[in-house]
């Protein structure tokens, strides 16, 4: 007899303890709904007595109409113009770790451009032995790798610095997605051009820019460029969406999303950083004393409870409750996630759905019992470096209140006795 039969069955607890409807007529010990005959069970339904829809007219299948609220959201007042805007992943409604491209957040600085593979060119110039221009077909001939990584906007949760602002995990933490990328290590392309001319690489940088009007140029130290950066052309198996940089984008694992150049056009090897607009006037962190932190690239360990949450209230009474959410770290793997129901006074260790991958989203679950009383839900991520996700108070003590970027503080949801949740602060 196989292992699957050993010590199981009666020894396991029943989760819903008879609150599930027993079939009419059957012994229904303590069932809350046993007495009610259910027409959905007792009567033949239309969908069981006739044909459904053929699928041959859906070459690319879309979500069913009942899920029309599980979409990216744009907050009109967050940016001055839709041509330079951002939208949010509906993380409250998702499970698992993979983000479908169709509902994956994206940020653009001058709109999403349509760039054919045939028109695509990638230049590598500067301190290289031979400046090169790659076509898309050229890129397809290099050895490629597959990795799952999260991409988080530096401004994710930025509105929360000043206090509880946005009511919903999609809006407070939805500037993030997690996809399986297929691409070429940037190292490989830099070596194709030849780095001999650059001499000692330890003090060299690359400047990367996109083909859109904003170009969004950023400087990346050579050590990162030669480490795990990818020149990627597929996400979750298929071509990148236009708004995610079709046909080629940069993947900079663990680092802020604005460095993940879309419509990647040029990579220049330089002897120093450019100090471009997007790394001076933007994407720096103004501290309380007026000094601005720069080169704050890595996204520190962070987590969020996606359900229950303001957009996902508890839809049942006391008893079995699944609390779930996401955790991630730009420094590597998530080793533990704790959940608090009392605003951080006491903590329980959550279950990680799968072993954490480096610089990727990790799904956690706390399978618990709800007594029907109000809760102050929080989650706290710990990564492989031992770093513990800070409270808002701890973060403000060091960083002040002027920042927009890199808010990885613990988030609090107040859940009332009706199961409704809202974004709150705890002192």
């Amino acid at each position: 007899m196989s292992d699957t039969f050993k010590g199981k069955g009666a020894s396991r607890r029943a989760f819903l303890r008879g609150s599930v409807a027993a079939v009419a007529g059957a012994a229904a010990a303590g069932s809350a709904r046993a007495a009610t005959p259910d027409p959905l069970i007792t009567e033949v339904q239309d969908w069981a007595s006739g044909f459904g829809a053929p699928v041959d007219d859906a070459p690319y299948g879309l979500p069913i109409r009942f899920e029309s609220d599980v979409v990216r959201r744009n907050v009109p007042w967050l940016t001055a113009d839709t041509i330079s805007s951002i939208n949010f992943t509906p993380i409250h409604a998702l499970d698992g770790t993979i983000t479908p491209q169709g509902c994956a957040f994206e940020r653009h600085h001058s709109g999403a451009i349509e760039l054919k593979k045939e028109d695509y060119r990638l230049m590598i110039n500067g301190l290289v032995d031979t400046p090169l221009v790659f076509t898309y077909e050229d890129l397809e001939r290099f050895p490629r790798e597959n990795h799952v990584y999260f991409c988080e906007c530096a401004a994710n949760s930025g509105m929360e610095w000043a206090g509880a602002q946005l009511n919903g995990a999609q809006f407070t933490h939805g500037m993030i997605h997690n996809m399986e990328y297929s691409g070429i290590p940037l190292r490989t392309l830099l070596e194709e051009a030849g780095l001999g001319a650059a001499g000692d690489l330890s003090d060299k940088w690359v400047y990367v820019e996109g083909a859109d009007a904003s170009s969004n140029g950023r400087s990346i130290p050579m050590e990162k460029a030669l480490d795990d950066v990818l020149v990627a052309f597929k996400a979750n198996g298929e071509a990148l969406r236009m708004e995610h940089g079709y046909p080629v984008r940069l993947v900079v694992p663990g680092w802020e999303g604005n460095m993940w150049l879309k419509w990647l056009r040029r990579i220049e090897v330089m002897d120093g950083p450019v100090e471009a607009r997007e790394e001076t006037s933007k994407y720096t962190d103004l501290l309380a004393d007026g000094v601005a932190r720069k080169w704050t690239w890595v996204m520190d360990a962070k987590s969020i409870i996606t359900a229950p949450s303001p957009q996902m209230p508890i839809n049942h009474g006391p008893g079995a409750l699944v609390i779930t959410g996401l955790a991630w770290s730009g420094h590597g793997r998530i080793t533990r996630v704790d959940v608090s129901k009392d605003g951080g006074k006491t903590w329980e260790t959550a279950r990680l759905a799968r072993e954490s991958e480096t610089k990727a989203l990790t799904r956690f679950y706390l399978d618990t019992e709800w007594d029907g009383s109000e809760m102050l839900l929080q989650s706290r991520a710990i990564d492989e470096t031992g770093y513990v996700q800070p409270t808002k108070a701890q973060l403000r003590e060091i960083r002040g209140l002027n920042s927009i970027y890199h808010n990885n503080a613990i988030q609090t949801w107040h859940v009332d006795s009706n199961g409704e949740a809202e974004n709150v602060e705890v002192s």
Copy 2:
């Protein structure tokens, strides 16, 4: 100095050996395209001098129009009616391992039905202590798991038994997809109903059926039901597509796709199999002597080269070439994939993109050089049990020519000197 700087650069080989365009004016040793100034580089393009499109009008982003051929395909003549039909994943155009739901193959027996979560009921009855009926909300309260699994139709590659029939990996091997599922172990729900009444579980079965008119009922031995079967409601993070069984389907890892019940309605614990239509007249394998094999559930180790392939010809001349494809096994992990360029006379071991997950697609690459002469490309998968994917001749010797299902034979693509590929047989 970090590891990333050690022994790199000049020591690495150049892949395209100067066949990439050198920038005009730069030293272009042996570059085939150096002499041609490229207006896409020398002239400012429209997409770099104006705004792109805002994205706020795309709450659910679709593939860019240039990828309109990367879609599921239905082959009208393969089934008598579109109401009982199948379509194919465009595996030739994908990379990595995840299949987006939008282009993931599906098979339906009486059309795809629209079933609201509010109208969803799952009954567990038969030899259980308390027959139960679960609503969708009930299911959300049970502990759930996340796993990536492949789902392959038993008929995948079925047309190829009689010889090379369909010209394209999408059509010969596209009845497969690979997604990250979130769901509840079936074991948990069976134990909620209580298995005490079933007595010795080692000879018990479950009968599962869907809410559509076909119901597509199948019998599953209890050992599998208590092992790794999931009652799933999310794939790649989001709700199942209607055609994939929204809101709830069964996931039966490693076993033929027709057992992955869609619109899952009922699970009955029984003291034997039902021998239903879909497991007697269908989904059995007729051998040469007229005997039909039944209960052939597991999908044996198999692989396919997705590029180059008939739909993905080589689009460049001799030199660096990436040969890539997918491998999988219903018995567990893929441990090795070999690639042959000469119809199986000699073999090279391919590179696995990531460590293989059990019962999931594994991406392989062979980074090689093409001399421009014709090739007979084959791939051969080996799984953790030591099983080696068979040749067509080996499979026919045992199974004859009457079968439709469970063809996991090695596939051959003939590539001519122009890089065009076609489906052929080698004796």
